[in-house]
């Protein structure tokens, strides 16, 4: 019972946070709402006994990525007037949501086709813990892990290259 309640609260916050994010005029406000959404999402991860992922969500998303976004927003120092952009925020978003409604309903319909049933018993007591995930990662997905490191290196190099164009 409790878990459902927790879920509902966290999910609502997450979804509402998302809605707020996409309807702000000020990017900073949107970024803050996004943080809230991410934190709620982290909680949902916890509910799913994905401890490592939950922590990583806070660290990487809510921490690093949002921080980066905020830095850039402040760096560009955009004035209020420039933000007008002539956009009908609610309207456009509304239209897009409307356009997506059929898609969403189809997915939900598909989801509801899945068999009902509570989550099964955990395979092991430390399911989702850092040791378990770590071991699983290095045992089965070592190659992929290395690839990701290459990817991050590439990103690093790319950013440095882009940054060299004088701002």
């Amino acid at each position: 019972m409790l878990d459902i309640l927790l879920f509902l609260i966290l999910a609502s916050v997450m979804v509402l946070g998302g809605l707020v994010t996409i309807t702000r005029k000020q990017p900073l406000a949107a970024a803050l709402a996004l943080v809230v959404s991410f934190v709620a999402l982290s909680g949902l991860y916890a509910l799913l006994t994905a401890q490592l992922i939950a922590i990583l969500q806070i660290l990487v998303y809510a921490g690093a990525i949002i921080a980066l976004i905020v830095f850039v927003i402040m760096l560009l120092n955009v004035r209020e007037e420039d933000l007008q952009l002539g956009e009908d925020r609610i309207g456009q978003v509304g239209i897009a949501l409307l356009a997506l409604f059929p898609f969403v309903s189809v997915i939900i319909g598909a989801v509801l086709q899945l068999p009902e049933g509570a989550f099964p018993a955990l395979a092991s007591a430390d399911f989702g813990s850092i040791e378990a995930v770590g071991m699983y990662l290095y045992r089965n997905y070592a190659f992929v892990f290395e690839l990701v490191s290459v990817l991050l290196t590439v990103a690093l190099v790319g950013v440095v290259l882009l940054a060299k164009r004088r701002i």
Binding site: P102, F103, Q113
Partner: protein
């Protein structure tokens, strides 16, 4: 008509038969290639080679024909049929046409005439065309013509005959318009071909009709033997008559075109624009006789249809008289002969129309000789007078051109119908048959025409060869033609004297005429007899009429200075203008047709409505494209939105598909 003959004939195969049309075909091909090879040179292909091939081919065909004739004669009277199958031409559903040739007594006569007279004319042309740059081209066409004509007469089925029919039409066009640099001559070629085409249309309708008829009665066929069997098997009632009438009339339209019967005769006089040997071969001896050959071949149709036969008689008699009436006014020596040909063709058709097919064919046979002779003689005269063709500019030539004169005299006597020359026997047979079978009106017309014929032919003869020369300078330069031209004249003259005796009627000889007897197994004529005294009386009458015509002509034109012609008289004008038939056709047919065509082109084909509607579709397309282009805003957001919308729709589509198929949720 006895039917058991038709069933009993068993044909013998003969590959020798193929050689007859093959020689001229090869000649045409070789000469054609030579012409093309030497087309850009000064003198053209080597004359010796061309001559050898061109004259050799019909001669070889003639020799082969003679051999075949004797072979055919060797077969029993009931079995005189030799066929040769070459290949299947068309095989589609019920239609099974083959390339087949057939030699029976009728076609044997024709190939002998065509190859013999053809050979003589080829030889004559060597002399006549010796100064012409288009020497090898001429002989190519002439050989090709010979080939087509032989295919026409040897064809075993209507389509095969039609192939030859068209072939001679084309060659006629090529040869009439041989000197095509002269536009009028080229137009004359056109006129011939187009008039023929009108006739061919009728011919084709006839063929199609016969095909559908035989198809409906089990066993579609266009083969002559099978068609005669088919008609023999039909009951003697009204339906049969109708079928025969329709078929007969349609086919006869073709004959009208090819054999220059009114109103499709208009091309023959203008066809004199071609070189004289062409006129001799094509428009006297061979092509124009194809119509009578066809009618004789299809006699079993005309035997069953009194209406069609009456039509033939009427038109034949009308043509005979009309052409003769025009001939008395003509100044051009060749035109006189042209109209005389048309007139004599009318005689032949009357013969066929009354049911005396062998009489018609006999006249074809004799006419070939003396008409070819007349044309070749005329050519000799024209050649001597340096291309002068107006008889009013000639005169007194008999001292200068003795061989030409004597041979032409013989031919003129023959055509006038004076015994014992060939023309008498053949013309008289037709007159007799017409009378004794009850067609007295036709008889009267033909008798009158015979008198007119004698008159205008002798008018031509007297004006050309008698009296004082009216163009002294040309007269002084005139000389007899070389042997290549006079030899054929002599040979034909001999023929004119001799061939008449093949058709001596029973009353005079006591035996059946050889010619008619020979053709009997094919034509199956009913014999009509009359009183011997009647026959003698009519014979005498026709001789008298002919003599009268000659006498009048002699009286008017035989002296030193001929009488002048009543050029101012109104009736003379009508006759000289060919009864204004050409003008009538121009006004009634050609002008309206042109008007309709221009109207059609201007208002329908080049119509603005049509061009506009073409533009309309183009503009509509451009409009839609323009509207679609606005989707390309360049703004990525919009593209993403479009993708999402598309995705949603797809999802909806798939979900409805699956929930419809499987269980819903």
């Amino acid at each position: 008509m006895d039917t058991h003959h038709i069933q009993a004939i068993e044909a013998t195969a003969s590959s020798l038969l193929l050689l007859v049309p093959l020689f001229p075909l090869l000649g045409a091909i070789v000469n054609g290639l030579l012409t093309l090879m030497f087309a850009h040179t000064e003198k053209g292909a080597p004359r010796q080679v061309v001559t050898g091939i061109a004259v050799g081919a019909p001669v070889l065909s003639f020799l082969t024909s003679v051999v075949l004739f004797f072979q055919l004669r060797g077969l029993g009277e009931e079995a005189r049929m030799m066929t040769q199958h070459v290949a299947t031409w068309i095989k589609a559903g019920a239609l099974d046409l083959g390339i087949d040739f057939m030699l029976d007594p009728l076609s044997a006569v024709m190939i002998l005439v065509v190859t013999f007279i053809g050979s003589l004319i080829h030889l004559y042309s060597v002399g006549y065309m010796s100064h012409d740059r288009g020497f090898s081209r001429f002989f190519t066409y002439l050989n090709l013509f010979t080939f087509s004509m032989l295919v026409l007469v040897l064809g075993k089925s209507l389509p095969m005959m039609f192939v030859g029919w068209e072939g001679v039409g084309v060659c006629s066009y090529l040869l009439i318009g041989f000197w095509f640099q002269d536009l009028d001559k080229a137009y004359a070629g056109n006129k011939a071909f187009i008039a023929n085409r009108v006739g061919d249309f009728g011919f084709l309708i006839g063929i199609f009709y016969l095909f559908t008829q035989t198809l409906a009665h089990g066993g579609a066929t266009l083969d002559f033997v099978e068609l005669s069997r088919y008609f023999a098997s039909l009951p003697h009632d009204g339906t049969t008559t109708t079928v025969a009438t329709i078929a007969g009339l349609c086919l006869f339209i073709g004959a009208m075109g090819k054999s220059a019967q009114v109103p499709l005769h208009v091309w023959l006089a203008d066809a004199m624009a071609g070189p004289t040997p062409v006129s001799a071969l094509i428009h006297a001896a061979t092509m124009v006789t194809a119509g009578i050959y066809m009618v004789s071949r299809m006699h079993f149709v005309y035997d069953l249809s009194p209406i069609a036969s009456s039509m033939i008689i009427t038109l034949g008699a009308l043509t005979a008289f009309l052409a003769a009436s025009i001939a008395i006014t003509q100044r051009d020596i060749k035109r006189v002969l042209a109209y005389s040909t048309v007139s004599q063709l009318g005689y032949m058709f009357v013969g066929a129309g009354v049911g005396a097919y062998s009489a018609g064919m006999f006249h074809v046979f004799t006419h070939a000789f003396f008409k070819a002779l007349l044309f070749l003689g005329a050519g000799s005269v024209i050649h001597a007078m340096h291309e002068e063709q107006d008889i009013w500019k000639m005169g007194g030539l008999r001292s200068k051109l003795p061989v030409t004169f004597w041979t032409m005299l013989l031919a003129t006597v023959a055509i006038a119908g004076i015994p014992p020359l060939a023309g008498f026997f053949s013309k008289d047979e037709i007159l007799w048959q017409a009378f004794v079978r009850g067609h007295h009106v036709a008889y009267g017309v033909l008798l009158l025409t015979a008198g007119i014929t004698a008159y205008y032919m002798f008018r031509m003869l007297f004006l050309t060869f008698f009296g004082t020369p009216r163009d002294q300078s040309k007269f002084d330069h005139a000389h007899e033609s070389p042997w290549v031209m006079t030899l054929p004249l002599v040979l034909l003259a001999i023929g004119t004297c001799v061939v008449g005796f093949l058709g001596v009627p029973h009353v005079l000889s006591g035996t059946h005429p050889i010619f008619a007897h020979w053709l009997h197994p094919v034509l199956h004529e009913t014999e009509v007899s009359g009183a011997a005294s009647l026959e003698f009386g009519l014979m005498g009458l026709s001789v008298l009429v002919a003599a009268t015509g000659i006498a009048v002509a002699f009286f008017r034109y035989g002296g030193a200075t001929p009488a002048s012609e009543p050029v101012t008289a109104a009736w003379w004008d009508v006759l000289r203008n060919k009864w204004f038939l050409d003008e009538w056709i121009e006004a009634m047919l050609i002008r309206p047709l042109l008007w309709v065509s221009t109207f059609f082109v201007r208002n329908v084909v080049e119509n603005e409505v049509i061009s506009g509607s073409m533009g309309l579709s183009a503009r509509a397309y451009a409009g839609v494209a323009g509207m679609l282009r606005t989707l390309q805003t360049g703004i990525v957001r919009h593209y993403a939105l479009m993708m999402l919308v598309g995705l949603s729709l797809l999802a909806l589509l798939l979900s409805s598909h699956f929930s419809g198929a499987g269980g819903g949720h």
